[in-house]
Amino acid sequence: MDNYNFPDQNGHFGPYGGTFVAETLIEALDELKEMYNQFKDDKEFLNEFHHDLKHFVGRPSPIYFAERLTYKIGGAKIYFKREDLNHTGAHKVNNTVGQALLAKKMGKPRVIAETGAGQHGVATATIAARLGLECVVYMGAEDVKRQSPNVYRMKLLGAKVVPVESGSKTLKDALNEALRDWVTNVSNTFYIIGTVAGPHPYPMMVRDFNSVVGKEAIGQMDDLEGKQPDAVIACVGGGSNAMGIFYPYIPYKETRLIGVEAAGHGIDTGKHAAPLTANSPVGVLHGNRTYMMQNEEGQIIETHSVSAGLDYPGVGPEHSWLKDTGRAEYVAVNDDEALAAFHNLCKTEGIIPALETSHAIAYAEKLAKELPKDKTILVNLSGRGDKDINTVANIAGIKI
C-alpha cells in the first residue's frame, strides 16, 4: 500500500469502479471530471470549501474519549470522531458542501440527490437552501415511510421530495430515478451523489470531500494519545463515512481499518446488506463494478437492514479494492447487535447514535473486549440518531 494512488485516470480501483453508464450520461460525466480536476487543487475553491466546513458545518468535529463505555467493556480505549455534531447531524454534509460549491462554479442552478436514510437528502437540501439552488431529492417510498422526520425536514428546507415507487422502493431505486432525472435535465442539473459509488469521478470525489474526517483525526489522535489508533472502525453501506476516515489512514500501516456492514437478520439468512462480508459476486450497477448482492442471473436482490442508510446491495468500488488488497477488513453486525449498541451508547455516554453508526459501535465493543487496555480504537461516529427514534420505538412496541 506504499504510494497508494487510486483510482487510475479512468476511475478504476484495480478491477473495480469505472464508468458503466448509458451514452447519454458520458458527456455530463466528462464535464464533471474536467471541472473537478480543475477545482480540486484550486486554492480559492478549497478556501471556500474549508470556510463553509468551519463556519456552516462547525468543523473540526471533536474526538471524544468514551470513558464510561471503555470502562464498562474493560478493554481497549474507545474514541469517537464526532461527525454526529456536524450541522445536519452526520458526515454527509462534508460532501454536499463540496459538490454544491462545484455545482455553483459550473453554473448549474438545480441540484438533485438520492437518499436512503434521508441524511444525504437533508444535507443536500440544506446546502441548496444556503446557496439558493433548486433541489429535488429522490427517496424510495419504503424509506419515505421509515424516515418521515427527515422527509419533513427536507421539505422545510425548500426541497421537493419525490417518493420512488419502482423496484424495491429503497436507496438503489432512488439512485436509478435520480440518474434518469439527470439524463433528462443534464444541461441545468448537477447530481449530488451521496456515497462513494456511482460512475467515475463520484467515488473519488465523494471520498476526497469526506476525507477531511480522517485528516482531522490524524492530528487529533496525535494530540490526544501521541500515537495513531490501533484500529479505525466505520460502518459501510455505500461506504462514504468509512472512505472519509480510512483514506488518509491508508499509509498508516499499523492502523487496522475495519468496515462494518449490515448483517440484517444474519448473513446466513440472505436477508442482509453485506456484499463484502458475504463475498457476493462482482457485478455492475449504478455506473461502477463492485461486489454486489445479486442472484445467479445477475438480478439485483433485495437487501435488509434495520438502518435505511446501510440498505444497499452494492458498496463503493474502493472498498472492494481495499478488501481484495487486504488493506481494510470487512465484518458484519446484525440488526439486534446494532440495536443493543444503540441503547448501550444512549445510556452509557449520553449520545444517541444513528442506527447506521450503531453497527460500527457494536463491532468496536466486540473488538475492544479482545484487546488490552493500552490499545486504542477510533470509531467514526458518523451520524446522530434523532431520525431513528421512531424506528427504535416501533421495534420496542412503543408509540410516540
Partner: protein, 263 residues
C-alpha cells in the same frame, strides 16, 4: 455478411426503411412473448429488439421498467430470454434478432457463456446499454470473433471525436438516442434529430437507426425520411399493458402496421 447488414441492404435497394420494434422477453408471459414476436414480423417489422429483463434498468423510463418487473415476476431472466429467442429462430430464419440489456446479467453468467447462448440461439446483434466503448474492449472483440454485431448508442450530447471512436467499435448499425432522457419520453425535436443524424451519417458507413421517443406514425414518418431505421418500444409495451390476452396481438399489430405504412 451479417443478417442485420443483409436486411439493411435489401431494404435500401427497395428504398425502404427498417422498422425495429422492441419488447421485453417474458412480458406479459413467456408464451405471449413468443406469439408477439411472430406477430411483429407478420405486421411488418424488419428486425426485432428483444429486451433482457433487468431489475435496475437505469436508462429506461417507467413503461419499460414495468415490463421488466412483470417479466421478472414471471421468473424470466437472461437464460429464459435465450430460450424464447431460440424458439423464435427455429421458425423464422430471416428476421434479425437483437438483444438489448444491461451489463450485469451478462457478467453474472460470464461473457463466454453469454456468447455460447447467443450462438445457440443465432442472435444477430447486442446492445448493452451501460457498456460505453471505453469499458467494453473485450466484449466487442469477442462479439466480432463470433460474428455478432455490437450495436452502440449515440446520444444528443456525444461529441464528434467520441462518435468517431464509437464508430470504430460498432458493427450492424448505430442507434441514435433521439433525446436527452430515458426511453418513452415525449419531447423529440425533429429538426435537431435530423441535424445530428446527418452529422453521424457523414462520419459513418453504417446505417443509423433512431429510437427513444418515436411514438406515432407522424414522428416515425418524419424520422424515417432522414434515417435508416426506426426503433419503437414503449408505445408497444403500453399496448401490452392496456390489452387483454384476447386482443393483445391484434392491438400490437395495428400499431406496427400504422407505422409500417407511415414509413
Amino acid at each position: 455478411m451479417s443478417r442485420i447488414t443483409k436486411t439493411f441492404s435489401l431494404l435500401k435497394s427497395n428504398n425502404k426503411k427498417a422498422l425495429i420494434p422492441f419488447i421485453t422477453a417474458g412480458d406479459p408471459s413467456v408464451e405471449m412473448t413468443k406469439k408477439i414476436l411472430h406477430q411483429l414480423v407478420d405486421s411488418g417489422a424488419d428486425m426485432i429488439e428483444l429486451g433482457i429483463p433487468f431489475s435496475d434498468p437505469m436508462a429506461d423510463g417507467p413503461v419499460i421498467q414495468r415490463a421488466s418487473e412483470r417479466a421478472l415476476a414471471n421468473n424470466v431472466g437472461i437464460r429464459k430470454t435465450f430460450e424464447i429467442a431460440k424458439e423464435f429462430r427455429s421458425s423464422d430464419q430471416d428476421t434479425p434478432l437483437i438483444l438489448m440489456g444491461y451489463a450485469n446479467p451478462i457478467e453474472a453468467i460470464g461473457l463466454d457463456e453469454f456468447l455460447r447462448l447467443c450462438k445457440e440461439a443465432d442472435i444477430d446483434g447486442i446492445i448493452t446499454v451501460d457498456y460505453p466503448h471505453e469499458e467494453s474492449k473485450e466484449y466487442v472483440t469477442k462479439l466480432r470473433e463470433n460474428d455478432i454485431d455490437a450495436i452502440f448508442l449515440l446520444a444528443p450530447t456525444t461529441e464528434k471525436e467520441r462518435i468517431k471512436q464509437i464508430i470504430k467499435q460498432a458493427t450492424g448499425f448505430l442507434y441514435y438516442v433521439s433525446l436527452k432522457g430515458v426511453t418513452g419520453a415525449q419531447n423529440i425535436d425533429i429538426d435537431q434529430v435530423k441535424h445530428r443524424v446527418a452529422e453521424i451519417k457523414s462520419l459513418a458507413d453504417l446505417p443509423v437507426g433512431v429510437g427513444f421517443g418515436v411514438r406515432d406514425p407522424e414522428t416515425a414518418k418524419a424520422v424515417a425520411s432522414f434515417s435508416d431505421a426506426i426503433v419503437i418500444g414503449s408505445r408497444i409495451i403500453q399496448e401490452i399493458e392496456k390489452s387483454n390476452l384476447d386482443n393483445m396481438l391484434e392491438n400490437i399489430s395495428k400499431i406496427i402496421k400504422s407505422i409500417r405504412e407511415a414509413i
